[in-house]
């Protein structure tokens, strides 16, 4: 009854059932053991030395910038998550561009932000230094870093034993160097892959895509999952001379003829199995006739070159068909990011009647066209600040050129003066706050000074965010 294990065994069943020692005596002896055991804590030996992080190349940002980052990485500080994440993105971009890296102790916070914010991931990787990848390796929740890092470096073969993220990274990197080898890797395993992994890997063929990929992509059109077939269609659609494009062009030509300067329309009579294989969905959404729906899809996938240039839109369209035809062409212009077609279509389409199509076209515009359209829209006092302006402004690449910034500020001020649509004013000002050059902080503050109480909050907030961005950039100089 003198060993700890004996005492413990007796205490477990109770001295009533296992007599031989008084309860108080048992506790007294156990106390001596307890002190002995606690005081005798010995070091553990034989643990491996962890691998050190690879050497860093870039310096850590200075203190002020480090604090700024700590604030931006913390979800509790800004009430407005959209603004916070946009500023975080700007911080990361500007820091990396200037050759700085984030302080290492903030990397776990950044990695956690990146788990939910996909669009920030490449920025986090760029500003995280070499330590980021080293750290991410140690926590399965952060493996997405490998996918992005792998795209920048080729290295170990992660194809055979890597995680899904690492396999994607490996394929991406390989496609960049040797597209044929990348395709072979995928083709060889294709039939054995789970459909989730197929859906993740197939889009990577967009990198280094060429005519040699066509045969495989054609075969994928028979895949069982629509999501995967759609990826193959997107890729085949971007291959200029693919058989897929030929088929779609032929179908489109069969429906559209130009006679005496008028586009006349004969929609497909039915949706045959070949069309379905090429991705045409037979059942229309509510409110559209099925033949019109098939036509729209055929036009959306037919190469725009089928019609010559955007001058094609100079023709009038057979009565009753213009909406369907323009919508199909707009989808094509949007898929192919064809700036000239998008510009011509925007002139032709009734902006107010088809906001969804118009929204699709803006991203296809070139930066100059976008800026011009944005300036025009802001100057139009009669139009108000609708959703469309938001679309245009959101796609104008930041930082905005000074003409646009000036036009937006003037437009906002004029709308505030006329007390129109305060909520639109607020939304547009939020976009402006994140995209204007920060040097406009003083101008925005001046507008806030001379604005009456109704719009003042909007301009104060705008000036405040611009000022904050201005300071943020200075801290990184």
């Amino acid at each position: 009854m003198n060993q700890w294990t004996d005492l413990l065994a007796t205490a477990l069943v109770g001295t009533d059932r296992r007599p031989g020692i008084a309860a108080s005596a048992l506790l007294d002896r156990a106390a001596a053991w307890s002190v002995y055991r606690r005081a005798g804590l010995r070091p553990v030996e034989g643990l491996p030395t962890p691998a050190p992080a690879p050497p860093e190349h870039d310096p850590v940002v200075r203190t002020a910038a480090a604090h700024r980052l700590a604030i931006l990485a913390d979800p509790d500080i800004f009430g407005d998550a959209t603004i916070r994440l946009a500023l975080l993105a700007e911080w990361l971009t500007e820091a990396a561009r200037r050759g700085w890296r984030a302080p290492p102790e903030l990397l776990p916070d950044l990695l956690d932000v990146g788990r939910r914010q996909r669009e920030l991931r490449p920025l986090i990787v760029a500003a995280g230094g070499t330590r980021l990848g080293w750290l991410a390796q140690q926590n399965p929740e952060w493996t997405y870093v490998w996918q992005i890092e792998g795209e920048r470096t080729d290295g170990d073969n992660h194809w055979d034993e890597g995680t899904r993220g690492q396999r994607i990274a490996h394929l991406t990197a390989l496609r960049r160097i040797d597209p044929a080898a990348g395709r072979t890797l995928l083709v060889e395993e294709w039939s054995a892959l789970h459909s989730d992994e197929r859906a993740e890997l197939l889009p990577r063929l967009a990198i280094g895509l060429g005519p040699d990929d066509e045969e495989f992509l054609e075969a994928v059109l028979d895949d069982r999952r629509r999501e995967i077939r759609t990826v193959a269609i997107d890729l085949l659609n971007t291959l200029p001379d693919s058989a897929f494009n030929e088929r779609m062009a032929a179908r489109a030509r069969a429906c559209i003829t130009v006679r005496d300067g008028v586009i006349s329309v004969e929609p497909p009579a039915d949706c045959d199995p070949d069309m379905r294989r090429d991705g045409v969905i037979p059942k229309p959404p509510a409110g559209i006739g099925e033949r019109a729906w098939w036509l729209e899809q055929v036009l959306a996938r037919a190469p725009l070159a089928t019609w010559g240039g955007p001058g094609f839109l100079g023709h009038s369209i057979e009565e009753g068909w213009d909406v369907v035809v323009l919508r199909g062409l707009a989808r094509a212009a949007s898929y192919h990011r064809d700036s000239a077609w998008a510009d011509a279509l925007l002139d032709r389409i009734d902006l107010a009647a088809s906001p969804a199509i118009v929204a699709q076209l803006y991203p296809a515009l070139g930066p100059d066209e976008l800026v011009n359209r944005a300036i025009e829209a802001m100057r139009d006092e009669t139009a108000g600040l609708g959703k469309l302006i938001e679309y245009v402004l959101e796609h104008c690449p930041a930082p905005w050129p000074p003409e646009l910034a000036t036009a937006v500020l003037a437009g906002l001020e004029s709308h505030a003066k006329h007390r129109r649509m305060p909520y639109d004013l607020y939304r547009v000002s939020r976009i402006a706050a994140l995209r204007m050059p920060p040097a406009f902080a003083a101008v925005a503050a001046a507008v806030a000074q001379r604005t009456d109480s109704r719009g003042i909050g909007v301009f104060e907030r705008l000036a405040e965010i611009l000022q904050l961005r201005h300071e943020m950039i200075q801290e990184l100089e």
Binding site: A23, S24, A39, E45, F78, P104, L468
Partner: protein, 426 residues
Amino acid sequence: MTAWSAEQVLALAPDASSGKAARALATPSSWRETGHSAEPLAVWGLCKGSGKQPYQTCVDLAEPAYRCSCPSRKFPCKHALALMLLWSADRIPTGEPPEWVGDWLATRTERKEKATARKPGVADPRTAQRRAESVAAGVEELDRWLGDQVRQGITSQTGYEHWDTMAARLVDAKAPGLASAVRRLAYAAGTPDRLLTELSLIRLLVAGYRRGAELPADLGATVRTRVGFPVATDDVLARERVRDDWAVVAVRDEGDDRLTVRRCWLHGTRTGRPALVLSFAPLGQPLAADLPLGTAVDADLCYYPGVLPMRALVAERHAAPMPYEHPPGTGSIAEALDGYGRAVAAEPWLERWPVLLAGVMPVRQGADRWFVRDEAGDAVPLDPAAGHPWRFVAAAGGEPAAMAAELTTSGVRPLTVWAGARLVLA
């Protein structure tokens, strides 16, 4: 004086939200007419608030002490913290204190002189007698209860209620120390080995209390503290003073739904002695913020009586806190464990012991077991309650780093890490 680091400033924040609000305010555009001076050591400025008048904010850095005309009841308020953050980032010019700053500093000096002149009160001996009787009765009841546990088998009882009932009786008996020891048994209840350990150590305390008269004075004082007798601040301040450059090596706030406790671990740069300065505040109320992490302050400390002097009060400061670069007094894990062994032998009820480790790195074994290993190859487990030490891992980058930690019966809890030139809250 070198400015403090931002971490040191933020360690002064009464709560997390103040620190965050302060960081958001710490931009030059929110401030005007800022300045700082070396003599008197102060920083001041006007901060734009929601009202028409800007807030006047001033910090006496020697203490530090704060004044702000904002209505916030937090202390220091976000404005004072933001001002110090700007100062820490070297974004405040030197200048002459304006009149409102000078006036305030003058009133402070006056008040301080008055405070030193105040006389301590004398406790009523009859109150003490009544309390001793009540505690003695509680201790006897507890001893019977301990015996009952062992007679019936220590795992026969489950559920918080079982422990809470006894704990509540001990609170009534004015033995809050014993009460919380009994309440903590609930956490050990799932592990018989731990439960027997904790029960036996309570029994040891009971035995010690009964034989209080025979114990050496220091050990007797430890037993009384553990049982829950309060020690008057004035009595502590009347004890021997220990002057040193006290380096603040860790600051950590803990709390429940009512009370926040700020634990400041100090290390005597010359004496090598550890000290723990506690401050308390109701939830949401300000905590004392006069011992910034990463600074050392030349001061007199008075230790609470006990066999293992640890908890202390700052009796007098001789200079303003100065930042130090390297943490003092770090050593190997083997040395730290030897020290811990001696400390437990002296004070069997020890729950946390401060350790300063040199050249350590976190090592993971399996999915979620972590150790801290030093360059000699010795390691000690991380307290699982501390979670994954990602900040430590990230800051150290696989290179040896210095660390201040608490050694508990479940392993070490990292508090501060010095990785290269960076001080990081682990």
